[in-house]
Amino acid sequence: MPKTITEQNLRLLIDTLVKEGTRVVGPRAAGTMTLYEPLATGEELHLGELPRRSAKEAFFPLCETILTYEKDKEGVKVSDIDPARFPETVLIGARPCDVAAAPVLDAVFSWDFKDEFFLERRRKTTIIGLACTKADDACFCTAVGLSPSDTKGSDLFLTPLKDGGYRCDVVTEKGEALLSAHAGLFADGTGEPLPLAEPTLGKLDLEKIRNWLDSHFEDPLWEEIAQRCAGCGACAFLCPACHCFDIVDEGGEQKGARRKSWDACGFGKFTGHASGHNPRDVQPQRYRNRIMHKFKYYHDKFGQRLCTGCGRCIRACPVGIDIAAVLEEINNK
């Protein structure tokens, strides 16, 4: 039986979850922008615009400690961080282009090495996705095989209705469990949905693009596009699918911590070797890796692509590099 929930009850759901001790993460107004942040109350939910950074940080935080060390008379004591202590979380109001990246990332984080930091958070998170009714000229989810109503990765899925409130579709058992635990906040019915967002970029032939990439590791295109690249991490840090990280030890001789934080293949030192040699020594080679990883390597290995068309890298690039334009250009070759 299809369900609906009013705007008020959606906020009440957040209040209830918070009271029960669940961590609720959702779009929240943060100064000049919206960010996915822990919500203290339902009132804080701010669904008006796409958050500046993606929802990946619900599973893959900007920075986290993975162990700490301390030296005493007996020697060095190393303490692991126990992922079991991560809280049960509900990610609410996340856009399809953010949510769809979560199952894509599962592949790499559970491949040869099981990254318990990521996987434990994933296991403990229930995702309430939200259909998208507003696209801008950087959005292109429909061009990479998704859509503003794609439920990929969601456990429950909300669709905004014309008369206010949302239709709520159950996508997984996890979603079903959350819904039935709070059944009183939902009503039976469907309602008339608001029109969905309409990204303007036409469909891309991703298979064709992959084939082109396969045979054009060396191509003048890379320099043409990427000699302007400034080599910052804005694109990768904002991207829902980029997942490279660095591990550093910080602290002193007596005590300190080993930390994991976001990294970016655009950084000059990303592939720097201890010898001083750098296999990707100019920016076009780094940008090529960005495209290759997203549209070829990851697909070769895991059958999925590292781009959901959210457009964040396009909006954020300080030198105007537009990944959709790059894909379009390859598509038209």
Partner: protein
């Protein structure tokens, strides 16, 4: 024509565009330069991006519009060796971009005779959150342009465009600086602490800065680590202090760092504050004449030493 009083006429940019194309074509065809660094239109309406043109036929891709925000001096630094390696370069520069070129000359990073500077008369560029479909106005113009004194660049090889009367814009940057200076040190500390806590260490600010050309940034070092590289309060604060100090007296005020910052941290406000300090302490200002040594790279006996207690 009440409208023209409030918005900037797009025809101004169209005329500059034509002239830039003609000049670029000329210098490329004659072989006077190997490449022209300028801007070209982006896929999305009302956007632009830096471009490096070597083929005279491609000179027609060049544009000048309110979307031409980038300071192209970045592409002439040693961070962009591939570009410099091409030979003598022509660069399209707004008045505010010129200060960076001059600064780089002062630091022996560039030689005037190796450059062909195509100055563009500039009425302003758009602010970061501007609606790109509108002409420039009080609502859409960038902060730095509201207080611009260099609409017509000087000491170029050629300057294209003619300035018409511009609307009056309310200054915002100097108002913010005054607000900052009116704060107590404790208030200022918490103001910056709050802003820096949002930094994600993407280094967009560093990477677009024409003066951040160090081949080994201290803040990237890990053996030993000088500044914590993880985006946490301590490392963020250290990174921003290093950045502010290292750019003091060098920053050309183009505000590219602030524009590039995805977390909207008001970096140019800090730059401006530092510039003011340097002016007060050493009478130094980033200007249009190359100076060999900035105040923080030079010792003079008459330097203020009152801070030594």
């Amino acid at each position: 024509m009440t409208n023209s009083a409030q918005t900037i006429d797009p025809a101004l940019y169209a005329a500059v565009t034509d002239a830039v194309r003609a000049e670029a074509r000329k210098v490329l065809e004659s072989g006077a330069v190997a490449a022209v660094v300028g801007w070209q239109a982006g896929r999305r309406a009302g956007t632009a991006m830096p471009t490096i043109v070597t083929d005279p036929a491609k000179a027609a891709d060049l544009i000048f519009s309110p979307a031409c925000v980038n300071n192209l001096a970045l592409y002439l630094t040693k961070a962009k060796k591939e570009v410099r390696g091409k030979g003598k370069i022509a660069i399209v520069a707004k008045g505010c971009d010129l200060k960076a070129l001059v600064g780089l000359m002062g630091e022996n990073q560039l030689k005037r005779e190796e450059l062909h500077i195509i100055g563009v008369v500039c009425a302003g560029v758009q602010g970061a959150a501007a609606d790109r479909s509108l002409p420039l106005s009080e609502a859409t113009i960038a902060g730095k342009c509201r207080e611009c004194t260099v609409h017509t660049p000087e000491n170029t090889d050629v300057t294209v465009g003619t300035l018409t009367e511009l609307p009056h814009f309310t200054p915002t940057e100097s108002a913010e600086l005054a607000r900052l200076e009116a704060m107590t040190p404790a208030e200022r500390w918490s103001f910056w602490k709050e802003h820096f806590s949002r930094c994600i260490r993407c280094y967009a600010c560093r990477q677009v800065c024409p003066f951040c050309y160090c081949e080994q940034c201290l803040c990237d070092r890990n053996r030993p680590q000088a500044v914590e590289t993880t985006p946490r309060p301590a490392g963020n604060m250290a990174w921003h202090i290093v950045r502010a100090m290292h750019l003091a007296g060098r920053c050309a005020g183009c505000a590219e760092c602030e524009r590039a910052c995805p977390m909207d941290i008001p970096l140019n406000l800090l730059n401006r504050k530092m510039a003011r300090e340097l002016k007060e302490l050493y009478g130094h200002e980033a200007g249009f004449k190359p100076k060999e040594k900035g105040p923080l790279a030079e010792y003079r006996e008459d330097d203020d030493q009152s801070f030594i207690k």
